[in-house]
């Protein structure tokens, strides 16, 4: 009996076969439910898979018909992919990780309708980016101006500042009254006058020798009077200065009403700058939706890339220490993925090709995530619409930088709504260049969009600004929109302009100026009505301060007569 038991090999092989059979049977449904559950929570709406099957060597997985619903429109799928093939690293599965060596996606469909509504899920661990003005608030402000609504939002400084000033005047007066108490009052002045008259009569009656003594007394009396005068003069000086400064403040305060009115005008987009870009706002309402989507998703993507995985050591897993060129990959990692096949966008069919490298649940410093995707779509007038998307996300010393570029050429767009149902463009050739840079401090998105070869579609009677806009669009053959969106310290600022800005502004200038004037006077009336009581009180207080000065002048002149 040797030390080897060769029958054991057969037992082991049988055991492995059993495990393999178990995995082959169960892993399909496990992958299906895993992708659907985790994917739905990450996406915020249903993610569905038709079926999943595992290859003979357990490392090749095929997922058929993946549909990712749109959380904002549950009757549509954001993306549908006919087939996904994954080549998984078996070793990573033992570490409870999923590392995909190769991933290939075939046939991509974007924005397709669903037969049944998707289910909504609460998105996991995603920070929603701040909202920004252009898409809704700004456009509404251009279209209708509600003074009361603007005033409700406006932080009007005037009433509180007026009240504050009135209180300040009250305190000043009280201080002055307190200081005045130490000065000679009316009675004291009368006493001094009486003393002075007594000395004068003594001087008249006195002989030569007595006169010397009386004169000495008069001299000391004058010295006393002068000291009192100095006190009053000194105080009078400070009173005069106080009155001058209060009057100056009052003048400035009255100018605050103008500033409040200006602020209201800018909020209602009736400031000169706001008016000048009114055309780009109306034209860009449709673009705003896409810009917001890009901004939102870049923020989401960056946030998920930044989120470092748990550093807690799981039982039986240990810590992997990298040496040399080794890297520690996150729990989910795709080395290389390719996209190819048909591309469906709304009702149009084209081609898609591209690759994505180093996509994972976290970023690795030496391996930036990069993607390059090319799209082709048949366009109008037998042209071909071309699209290119390039994104790179790099991590350096715990900082994440995302840079991306989307360029489209002769891209077919069936319809383009211009801020209102009254006006739209149809069968447009769109060319655009959009670049985004986002880092820890800011997000900078620059875009240049050109719409050409369009036909203008209007409702029967366009009203207001729209009738001018229709004329302009019909006469102009190209619309170009350029802009820059900067997000810094939680604030998002957009500067946009269009080739139609000045033309449109000149057409509606008079109308806008009239509107601005009416609005301004309404704002001022509103502010003045709030200030009427406090204004008259301040005026009375200022007069009271001037009376105070008058009193001091009179007392001083009474004392001057005694010298």
């Amino acid at each position: 009996m040797g030390i080897f038991r060769w029958s054991g090999l057969a037992v082991l092989a049988g055991f492995i076969l059993l495990i393999w059979l178990f995995l082959a049977v169960w892993i399909d449904s496990w992958v299906e439910s895993g992708v659907e559950n985790q994917g739905s929570q990450l996406n915020g709406a249903s993610v569905n898979v038709d079926d999943a099957s595992l290859g003979w060597l357990l490392n090749g997985l095929t997922v058929n018909s993946l549909a990712i619903a749109n959380p904002d429109d549950l009757m549509k799928n954001r993306v549908m992919i006919d087939q996904i093939k994954l080549n998984v690293s078996l070793l990573s599965l033992f570490k409870k990780q999923l590392h995909v060596n190769e991933l290939s996606l075939t046939n991509v469909k974007v924005n397709q309708p669903r037969s049944t509504p998707a289910k909504k899920y609460e998105p996991l661990g995603i920070t929603e980016p701040d909202t920004w003005e252009w898409p809704k608030a700004s456009l509404e402000a251009v279209q209708s101006i509600d003074t009361d609504a603007v005033l409700a939002k406006l932080d009007i400084q005037s009433p509180s500042r007026f009240k504050q000033f009135s209180e300040q005047l009250g305190t000043t007066k009280a201080n002055w009254q307190e200081q005045q108490a130490s000065l000679p009052d009316e009675e004291k002045v009368r006493q001094l006058e009486a003393e002075y008259q007594a000395l004068q009569s003594q001087l008249k009656k006195a002989n030569a020798l007595e006169k010397v003594a009386v004169l000495k007394d008069i001299k000391s009396f004058i010295k006393k009077v002068k000291a009192e005068q100095d006190k009053i003069k000194k105080f009078k000086n400070s009173v005069e200065k106080g009155i001058a400064s209060s009057k100056k403040q009052w003048k400035e305060l009255q100018g605050l009403i103008e500033k409040d009115a200006e602020l209201a005008l800018s909020m209602a987009s009736l400031s000169p700058d706001g008016m000048r870009h009114i055309a780009s706002r109306l034209l860009g309402a449709n673009i705003a939706h896409w810009l917001e989507l890009i901004l939102k998703n870049s923020q989401r993507f960056k946030a998920s890339a930044e989120s470092s995985e748990k550093e807690v050591v799981e039982p039986r897993e240990g810590i992997t220490v990298p040496f040399g060129n080794q890297v520690v990959l996150p729990s989910f990692w795709v080395h290389q993925s390719t996209i190819s096949g048909d591309f469906y966008f709304a009702e149009q069919q084209g081609r898609i090709s591209g690759d994505i490298k180093n996509l994972g649940s976290g970023l690795v410093e030496s391996r930036p995530m990069s993607s390059k995707i090319k799209l082709e779509l048949p366009s109008f007038d037998s042209k071909t619409g071309l699209g290119e998307l390039a994104v790179t996300v790099k991590k350096t010393a715990n900082k994440v930088n995302l840079s991306g570029n989307v360029s489209l050429k002769d891209w077919p767009v069936k319809s383009w709504q211009l801020g209102s149902n009254q006006l739209g463009l149809e069968n447009i050739l769109l060319s655009s260049d959009l670049s985004i840079q986002t880092n820890d401090i800011s997000t900078d998105l620059v875009f240049e969009i050109t719409l050409g070869d369009y036909t203008v579609k209007t409702s029967e009677k366009p009203e207001g600004y729209w009738k001018y806009m229709v004329e302009l669009l019909q006469s102009s053959k190209v619309i170009s929109l350029t802009g820059r969106l900067i997000k810094q310290n939680g604030e998002t600022k957009l500067v946009a302009s269009s080739n139609l800005d000045m033309l449109f502004f000149n057409r509606i200038k008079q109308e806008l100026n009239e509107k601005a004037k009416q609005f301004e006077s309404k704002v001022k009336r509103n502010i003045n009505s709030q200030l009427s009581d406090v204004r008259s009180k301040i005026q009375q207080q200022l007069t009271g301060l001037e009376d105070f000065d008058q009193l001091l002048t009179e007392r001083l002149s009474s004392l001057e007569k005694l010298e």
């Binding site: 070793l91 050591v313 039982p315 897993e317 992997t320 220490v321 040496f323």
Partner: protein, 167 residues
Amino acid sequence: MLNIIAKLLKVLNSEASPRGIAWSIALAFLFAALPMFSAAKWVVILIVAVTRVNLSSFIVFSALFALIAWLFDPLLNDLGLWLLTMPALQSFWLSVSNTAFGEALAINNTLALTTLLVGLISLVPLYFAGIQFVRFYRVKLMPRVNQWRIVTALKSTKLYQIYQSIA
């Protein structure tokens, strides 16, 4: 479970080679301590399958040692981290972990490294301790164990019936 415990008792009480049982104890410790992603774990399985190691005791002791290994995880991790970050050994780890052998054994993982080291170091001592334990059990412990009330009670249970049926 009852079946496995019964088998173990049978093995210990039978005339099975103490050396076979001792090797199963030593290898069970190595197997249980190693993490799943270390190729060494699968090599141990292969060794157990093709050598005349006692399988029943290997399975029972693997379960027992797995619990112990789980309890000692934090300590083994700390030890592994200390070894892998030791400046004097950096060039050694670099050269070993970049080979196919090092990669398969996941030598740059704190747990894989320390469990392999501890398992290999304790392999021979555990083997000899295993022999001593089996001999001690058979000579000294078995007669006394058989007289324990709990054992007599156990003999009237299903466990004993299973034991009898396979003995």
